[in-house]
């Protein structure tokens, strides 16, 4: 009788349990894979409306849903760089002890890519970390990601070299009259200079400066300046100019070799003043295609105005192979890696429009106030 009763109770209980949703586990925190799929993008939200509270949002642009994968704070005109050789992310930022004031601390914060949590930091002395609207070239790797290089601006310009494996600062390289970091060979980087050339800084194995040299002049900052952003295909960086030239720079040896520039524009397009414009105005894919954000009726000063179209060039033929007419006005563009690349566009509402990079078709919009101003986009891998 007693056994029967227990049996009945067990039966009733299990029926009930099946009829109800189970209790959920409490305290689960999501994790991300150590290597992200090719369809993921780091969207750096400069957040002009609250500059100290900038962030990077990690987005899967290809998924049907759950596009927002996670975020990390990168504030006060911060710089950001994901590693490829280890599951780490680097954020260069500035804190004040009392948020808007008080003691200033510049740091490189090292984030674990799986947990998006800070695992270490390197304090940067001197309060001179360069604060810019957000560039990619202000934080770069050398020597297979052994060295992390950070741009300073005080307004004197220099580059701090950090051994990021050992997590310590090893040197500071002065780059007077020049700006930003374009890695060339294992231990060398170039910077763009006010006198229309590149300064090349060669480091020793320990990260200290070995020597510096200058390339020949190869562009005109007065008449047609190069943008800071470039599209890199293999060892060649393609720098667009304000008026629509493409300047290929071969970075395969320590000293960069500027190739012959070519125009993106037909005579008609030149007459219509088509020009590159926006923030991150260029991106590239390993298949040799260069993507440039373009606008019509350009003028002196329109180089940050964004664009209505993305033009796709075959860099071997130096020929346009596609025009993507954007659904919404574009501000920044990035092309993802891999076989099925996506063209990611920060639009004028500061949401992301996702297009197929292959056929230019619009696929989805990712937004909903995920970002205030995602000015820079880093494709994963």
């Amino acid at each position: 009788m007693k056994q029967l009763l227990i049996g009945v109770l067990v039966l009733v209980f299990s029926v009930l349990v099946q009829a109800e949703l189970p209790v959920d586990e409490i305290g689960i925190i999501e994790k991300l894979p150590a290597t992200y799929p090719d369809s993921w993008v780091y969207a750096h939200d400069t957040n002009f409306y609250s500059l100290l509270d900038g962030k990077v949002v990690i987005v899967d642009v290809a998924a049907e849903n759950r596009h927002y994968k996670g975020s990390l704070g990168v504030g006060q005109f911060g710089s950001f760089l994901p590693a490829n050789t280890r599951p780490e992310l680097y954020a260069a930022e500035t804190f004040y002890s009392k948020r808007l004031r008080g003691e200033r601390t510049d740091v490189i914060t090292i984030y674990d890519r799986v947990n998006l949590s800070p695992i270490d930091e390197i304090v940067l002395p001197g309060g001179k970390r360069g604060q810019f609207v957000t560039f990619k070239s202000s934080l770069q790797f050398l020597n297979n990601e052994q060295f992390l290089l950070l741009m300073n601006f005080s307004p004197a310009t220099s580059v701090t070299v950090i051994d990021i494996e050992k997590r310590k600062i090893v040197s500071e390289v002065q780059i007077p009259g020049c700006s930003m970091i374009y890695p060339t060979a294992k231990l060398s980087f170039a910077s763009l200079c006010s006198d229309d050339l590149m300064l090349v800084s060669h480091l020793n194995k320990d990260g200290s400066i070995n020597k510096q040299e200058r390339t020949a002049k190869f562009f005109s900052g007065d008449d047609d300046p190069l943008f800071m952003f470039n599209g890199k295909i293999g060892n060649t960086a393609y720098f667009p100019s304000f008026k629509g030239q493409i300047y290929p720079v071969d970075l395969s040896s320590a000293k960069p070799k500027a190739g012959k520039s070519w125009s993106m524009l037909s005579k008609k397009e030149m007459a219509e003043n088509w020009r590159p414009g926006g923030w991150q105005i260029v991106s590239a894919h390993a298949n040799g295609q260069l993507y440039v954000l373009m606008h019509k009726d350009g003028f002196n000063g329109s180089h940050k105005n964004g664009g209505s179209e993305v033009w796709v060039f075959d860099t071997t033929m130096k020929k346009r192979i596609k025009r993507v007419v954007l659904k919404e006005w574009g501000v920044s563009i990035e092309v993802t890696k891999g076989d099925k690349p996506h063209l990611v566009v920060t639009n004028g509402n500061y949401d992301l429009d996702i297009y197929s990079a292959t056929d230019g078709s619009w696929q989805r919009m990712i937004g909903g106030r995920a970002f205030e101003m995602p000015m820079v986009l880093h494709a994963a891998n």
Partner: protein
């Protein structure tokens, strides 16, 4: 069957009484315009925005989800998802977490506010714990505010205007979950 419900109810209520109500953030992100509750700022912003692929969650630029379980109906990215009957804040489902998990790098608050919501499929009332995820800045997506049974702060554990990122390393609020912790008294 009442006895089993009441048993679950009892243990759940205990949680409710001890850790009790919950979290932070009135929104007023939602205000009544006409007679439909819509989250105001996202809508205001979306007005200048582009098209949306959002199913019907009311947040342009946020794609719909399902729980994958027909017994747990609705869209966890929608403010109308049944578990959110008393939620208040940014939905973690829109922020890299889910309706039951926190986004990477955040910390789940150990203290929560508890609501009681009816699952429209089985018509049962579930006790939902709205644990906050803390330590990263305001997610910004899917602000959702439902105030059924919300009381002012003098009934602290029934109040959602308080930042409940309390027992966490950082009190910075990021987003909110809606976790089933039990079944309430069957009201049928």
């Amino acid at each position: 069957m009442k006895w089993l419900d009441m048993f679950v109810e009892k243990s759940s209520r205990k949680i409710a009484r001890v850790t009790s109500r919950r979290s932070f953030l009135t929104g007023l992100g939602t205000v009544l315009v006409g007679s439909t509750a819509i989250p105001l700022l996202p809508v205001a912003r979306a007005a200048g925005g582009g098209d949306s692929e959002a199913g019907g969650n009311g947040y342009p630029g946020v794609a719909s989800q399902t729980t994958g379980n027909i017994e747990d109906p609705g869209d966890p990215t929608s403010c109308d998802y049944w578990r959110y009957c008393a939620i208040d804040g940014f939905l973690c489902s829109c922020c890299g977490g889910s309706h039951t998990t926190c986004p990477p790098g955040t910390e789940m608050s150990p203290m929560t506010w508890i609501g009681t919501c009816m699952n429209p499929v089985d018509k049962k009332h579930y006790i939902i714990s709205y644990n906050d995820c803390c330590g990263k800045t305001s997610c910004g997506r899917c602000l959702c505010n439902k105030n059924e049974a919300d009381k002012p702060p003098y009934r602290a554990f029934s109040n959602n205007d308080t930042n409940w990122c309390l027992g966490t390393e950082s009190s910075i609020y990021h987003c909110s979950t809606g976790i089933i912790v039990g079944v309430a008294v069957d009201k049928q």
